[in-house]
Amino acid sequence: MILNPAQVPDSPLARRNPTVKLAVLFLASVALLFVLDPVTPAVIYLAGFIGAAVGGRIPLRTLLAVQLPFFAFAAGVLTINVLSRPGTALWEEGPVRLTVEGLVVGAALAGRTLAIGILSVGFLLTTDSLALMTSLHQNARLGARPSYALMAGHRLLQQLPGEWAVIRAAQSVRAPLRRAGTVRQGTVRQGTVRRGPGAFGRAGFALLVQSIRRGERMAQSLESRGLGLTPRTVWRPVHVTSVDLAFGAVVLAGLATVIGVAGALGLLRGPGALF
């Protein structure tokens, strides 16, 4: 997904300024760190899910599939808390003891994981990585050298799978042949290539050497084109538009409302829930 970004499809979310999106994601994540009840993160998760699906036009299947790691992590957090947290017993059988506190805190932590997960997924799937670097450089004052170095590195990363394939092919040609001939699709090949277990390591080493060389040359090339000279200009400036600001404001206001309403209803609990 990140290695070979098929062009990020157009959507209202994709059109938003990447820096604004990243800032919103950051603020929302920080706010969620202080929320420790199961309901508030669940509401935020739901809102985030709908936002990503509708605003980001991400197909449901994709949206669910990329969340799998978050689901797994959330399930782990929930299980551990339910089984190990002391408190009022809900169910007891031999050494296994489930507690109410464990269930509540576990659900809260799991909900937080999922909520931050869906917001991150929504961000990643609607943001072109190069556009992000450009925007960070221009809107967030990230220096030209790290920005362009990362963009060049991105190109290097994109080339890796291709280079890996070439290296594997180049090296498999050298591997010893098996004696037995194979007949397949009318093709007679006297022997096939045997792949030893060390072959992976060697190919990895070749790839490493290759990448370091190429990275060095790219760095030289960037330098020789004057990257790092000041002052520099920007050809196609990326602007933070009023729509971007409105988007940020609306999302953050929505977040504040959810937390506020939860507080008013007495549902909201802070880190105190842990103790």
Partner: protein, 657 residues
């Protein structure tokens, strides 16, 4: 202002040393380049040509741990203490590997980067991108993704990006009408450090450094680069320093006069042999350069061999070559030739009878209605079905009999590499079938194939046999491929030519692979290594192997190959005896190929009076023989390898009969 102050680039007694190594990479090199001047750097491989380029850009000593003595001046200012990025105002560089020189995802972003870095007014950037791309003949590439460009296209983009930056740093008028008049003044005011002084008015100058810019290009690409270099120099403000192997192709029709007007010759130890007007330098050092294994423009090469100036246009040289054409390959005849006849180092003469007989033998490898293609981008391979492919070639039928050297020709992107990969069984055929023993293959980049940590181990990898047998094979390969002096070195630390020889030596150590495939085996090699490669191919064919290689160098092809397969328009455009195909102007045009002047001259001289004369006319063999003699003259003959044993203990050649 004195002349010295106005020099775009000057080095004074520059010596480069690696720590702990007694032998310097460059020894006391002084040169001077005036604005608008072009200089060619010549020398055998390992003579420090790339080091010279790196000293000017500042990569040495700032990025590579080497010590530099002496001074480097750009635009009259001493920049010895300035790092690479500060020198960027005065120096544009195009590296050897275009894939590493292009850093961003889109061509226009790549082009905009140097302009932004130099602080060009954003409203002028778009126009400048078009100008710089237009200058190198790459105007149509502006909107393309860099990952989809061919090597030749990448090289032109890299060159345009280097030029685009210079146009600002040096204040030259590349931008034309779109450039804002304020730019020149801004450039002067903005300059920092030592470079600020010369930044403003007419003293502004810059230097463009090109390190083998055409090594990966087809003839059209070479023409585009040559035109770009000429146009850049014409502006009178940018000096061009060019390291180039393919002098003959770069010079084009004009011969030595088509080369940069000045030349600097380095010897094997990094010292300056000669520096001055190219025509004079070449004339005075023809013999020495030729002996050192450098590529030379044809005119100079012929001067070194015949002792007569003027190249093919000269009646004397023509008569001399005709004398060689008439000479029959009988050893005594060659020796008794009065003065300048071929010496002892002849490559073996082509044998008409053996060429003709090959048709009767069983092929070692054959392809039937083969479809060659790469998996379509984004396509997933589903079980039981072939992945959808972008077919590059279709309907490929070919047979490779033992004893034949076959050249694959075609423009950049015509599918040469894909066909080789498919024949090697590394790229699944999209249709049709390949039958025969699994071939061996050497890749264009030899580093990709290295598996060992020492040269000696590298050759022995995958070779079947007892420890002693393998050691014997390794020793033989080390001797045959001139690698004994580096036998215990790390393969990655060899020179470019040595790496190529090593990958070939390691591949040929496998006696159980009767077919050798090679992707651009002559690319980037100096004359000596090219001749050695030609020798290896002929020897391996004589031992019963079939050799298939792709190449852009038609002189190499005409010298080595028995047969030529031309790829064009998604299929095989021609397949036949080398000389017959090369005489077919229509096929050459379709495939975007151009005959080098020497080959064209020899083919014209030996053209049958009656065009209906059957192929493999004796005259054609004469032409090839002269080409081989020319390669062998002054080259260093290789030890010949004993016959190749097969598993059964008989030689391949015997087995094939």
């Amino acid at each position: 202002m004195s002349d010295t102050d106005r020099a775009a680039a000057r080095t004074v007694d520059v010596t480069v040393r690696a720590p702990g190594s007694p032998r310097p990479l460059l020894a006391g090199v002084s040169l001077e380049l005036a604005p608008g001047e072009r200089m060619l750097v010549l020398g055998p491989s390992g003579s420090g040509k790339s080091s010279l380029v790196n000293v000017l850009t500042g990569v040495i000593p700032f990025s590579q741990n080497l010590s530099v003595e002496g001074a480097v001046l750009l635009g009259g200012a001493d920049v010895s203490e300035l790092p690479v990025v500060e020198r960027a105002r005065r120096v544009g560089a195009v590296a050897q590997d275009p894939a590493a020189a292009v850093c961003l995802a889109r061509v226009d972003d790549e082009m905009a980067l140097p302009l932004e870095n130099h602080g060009v007014d954003p409203s002028a950037i778009s126009g400048r991108i078009d100008d710089a791309l237009g200058l190198v003949g790459a105007g149509g590439l502006r909107e393309r993704a860099t990952s989809a460009l061919s090597g030749g296209e990448l090289q032109r983009v890299a060159m345009a990006a280097a030029l685009a930056g210079l146009s600002e740093g040096g204040g030259i008028g590349l931008a034309g009408p779109t450039g804002s008049p304020a730019d020149g003044g801004v450039a002067g005011a903005r300059g920092t450090g030592a470079l600020g002084g010369g930044g403003g008015g007419g003293g502004a100058s810059a230097v463009l450094l090109l390190d083998e810019p055409t090594s990966m290009l087809d003839p059209a690409g070479v023409r585009a680069v040559r035109g770009a270099v000429a146009r850049v120099a014409e502006r009178g403000e940018v000096a061009v320093l060019l390291v180039e192997h393919r002098l003959d192709e770069f010079a084009g029709e004009a011969g030595a006069r088509g080369l940069p007007e000045k030349a600097l010759v380095l010897d094997g130890s990094g010292g300056v042999v000669a520096c001055g007007p190219t025509v004079e330098v070449l004339a005075q050092n023809a013999q020495r350069l030729h002996d050192a294994g450098c590529w030379l423009p044809l005119e100079t090469e012929l001067l070194a061999i015949t002792g007569r100036p003027g190249g093919l246009d000269s009646a004397e040289v023509g008569e001399w070559l005709r004398g060689w054409l008439r000479m029959r390959p009988v050893a005594t005849a060659a020796r008794s030739s009065p003065v300048d006849g071929p010496g002892e180092g002849d490559v073996e003469a082509p044998d008409v009878a053996s060429v003709a007989n090959h048709d009767d033998r069983d092929p070692l490898l054959s392809a039937r209605s083969l479809v060659v293609g790469r998996p379509a981008p984004g396509a997933r391979r589903s079980r039981g079905r072939r992945a959808p492919v972008d077919a590059v070639l279709a309907g490929v039928d070919l047979e490779l009999p033992p004893g034949e050297v076959v050249a694959l020709l075609g423009a950049n992107g015509s599918g040469k590499t894909s066909l080789l990969l498919t024949l090697a069984g590394l790229l699944p055929a999209a249709g049709g079938a390949v039958a025969g023993a699994r071939p061996s293959m050497v890749f264009q980049n030899p580093e990709l194939q290295f598996l060992g940590h020492r040269v000696r181990d590298e050759i022995g990898i995958g070779v079947a046999g007892s420890r002693d047998e393998v050691a014997e094979i390794v020793d033989r390969q080390l001797a045959v491929h001139r690698l004994e002096h580096v036998a215990d070195r790390d393969p990655y630390r060899l020179s470019g030519g040595e790496k190529r020889r090593l990958s070939l030596a390691a591949m040929l150590a496998h006696a159980d692979r009767p077919v050798l495939l090679a992707d651009e085996p002559a690319f980037g090699l100096d004359r000596r290594d090219t001749v050695a490669t030609a020798d290896v191919f002929r020897t391996e064919a004589a031992r019963g192997r079939a050799v298939v290689f792709s190449s852009h160098d038609l002189r190499f092809v005409a010298t080595v190959a028995d047969r030529v397969i031309v790829l064009a328009d998604g299929g095989i455009a021609a397949d036949g005896p080398t000389v017959t195909v090369l005489r077919n102007a229509d096929v050459l045009r379709r495939a975007g190929l151009e005959l080098p002047p020497l080959v064209a001259w020899l083919l014209a001289e030996t053209a049958p009076a009656d065009p209906t004369t059957p192929a493999r006319d004796v005259g054609d063999v004469d032409a090839v023989r002269v080409l081989r003699w020319l390669y062998a003259t002054g080259a260093h003959p290789e030890a010949t390898a004993p016959p190749l044993p097969t598993a059964a203990g008989t030689s391949l050649e015997e087995a094939a009969r």
